[in-house]
Amino acid sequence: MKSALPIVHRNIGDALRAEKIAVKAEKIRMGNIQVGSSRHQIQTLTLEDKVFCIIEIPLVASRK
């Protein structure tokens, strides 16, 4: 069983890297589509005002 301790990053410049991140914000500004050398397109966006981001983890009920 893996542990998932909540660590809240509040410092300017802190970065998140994950496969899936859930976010909420008052303003979501769509950015541009970056087409790189790979076949996948990368989209950018900016979140503003009361932003909250959490790296998603799959959760299940514990077996007792």
């Binding site: 069983m1 859930a22 983890i57 959760l59 009920a61």
Partner: protein
């Protein structure tokens, strides 16, 4: 030059004799490049107003049917061209509007968050997990229409209590 006399007695008859634009157009001769169109002129005698009517006086109107037809055909061609341009612009605008609409949040994407107590929210989340599903924070927030931060907080609490855990597939 032909002359048609129009008065009250023969008005209905003259009306029957009037030709449509299509009928006149059928009579147009086929022209080669540079050839001029012979334009006949018709003179119509018209009882134009009441005083002329009672005095028996009349006015002479002249008109050239071919000239009218050519003018109408030119106008028609210009209007068709303009119509095509407008249709192309409308199609472009529709395409751009569809792109913009797809980027806007639709009614089906708007979730009104419920205002319930933390205890009620915790009980509902625990009940959702008891169904045996693997859930992400965002899934829970969407399904139960709860605030994401509250969901994360409650899930962490449930994890510390040993009620839920990270799935092995993660």
């Amino acid at each position: 030059m032909s002359q048609i006399k129009i008065d009250a007695a023969s008005l209905a008859q003259v009306g029957r004799q009037m030709r449509t634009i299509e009928e006149i157009a059928q009579d147009l001769p086929e022209l080669s490049f540079g050839e001029t169109l012979p334009i006949p002129t018709y003179v119509i005698e018209v009882k134009s107003n009441f005083f002329n009517w009672i005095s028996g006086a009349s006015e002479l109107w002249t008109y050239s049917p071919y000239e009218t037809v050519v003018q109408i055909m030119q106008e028609n061609a210009e209007l068709r061209l303009e119509n095509r341009k407008l249709a192309a612009i409308a199609a472009k605008l529709e395409k751009r509007m569809n792109i913009l609409e797809s980027k806007l949040p639709g009614e089906e994407n708007v979730i009104v968050l419920r205002e319930i107590t933390r205890e009620e929210a915790k009980a509902e989340i625990a009940k959702l997990f008891s169904e045996g599903q693997t859930l992400y924070y965002s899934d829970i927030a969407t399904k139960l229409r709860l605030d994401l931060e509250l969901v994360v907080d409650i899930c962490n609490e449930l994890m510390s209590e040993g009620e839920i855990s990270v799935a092995d597939s993660a």
